[in-house]
């Protein structure tokens, strides 16, 4: 499974694994949205520690979740971004919409 979900105290953590592209983002999106719509967490932590590569589909994955969580005023936080993933996040401006944590876990 390309995403592992855990929920505690209103925070849903999604540990993503593997390369994120248009093909793999779909499974990740479906798993996250399924749990999110049931639980309506106030925060989604997307952990990219085990993601060695992503293209703009990863940015789309983040933007889509920011939009979804906006429906119940939830917030999306990113963590575990490598240097190259950080660059994609910065290039896209998505960092202005989602919080970025330095530490993973």
């Amino acid at each position: 499974m390309s995403v592992q979900l855990s929920y505690k105290d209103g925070v849903l953590t999604a540990r993503l694994a593997g390369e994120i592209d248009h093909h793999t983002a779909r499974e990740m999106r479906e798993a996250i949205d399924d749990a999110s719509q049931k639980l309506k967490p106030y925060r989604l932590r997307m952990d990219f520690t085990a993601v060695p590569f992503m293209d703009s589909s990863g940015v789309g994955l983040i933007l889509g979740r920011v939009r979804l969580y906006g429906f119940w005023k939830g917030r999306v936080v990113l963590c575990g971004l490598s240097q190259s993933l950080s660059r994609m996040v910065e290039l896209s401006g998505v960092a202005a919409l989602a919080g970025v944590e330095r530490r993973a876990g």
Partner: protein, 143 residues
Amino acid sequence: MKAVNQAQFTFPSYSVNESFGRAAVTAFLAQIDPTVADLTEIKTAVSEAVTNAIVHGYRDQIGTVYITVKLFENGKAVVRVRDRGCGIADVEKAMEPLYTTGGEERAGLGFSVMQSFCDSVRVTSQVGRGTTVTLTKHFEPKP
């Protein structure tokens, strides 16, 4: 200028082949011993071009994606990603940042990423005939 080495490959436009497309290009480019940063950049740019061919070019059909990679003596690499899909009516508009016809999950950043990560991006397209994206990048020798 004549290419010193080149590779060509094709695959059907199943989205599962997106990873193969970018990985095959980076595997071929490994022979010039690029930096990790340069290799990640071209890998990302190729991923965007291949995804465009699959998601947009062949939006209503499965077709063939054609990739050629050419290496030149001065460290220049040229990657051409071609589809015979629906084509783009307004290339300039398609290349605008955030513009997408791909729905809510597409960020509309494909061409912006290609332009940021390559030295040049050339797009030729004909409606009903398909689209060719040509990415050019210079690879500096490692220090």
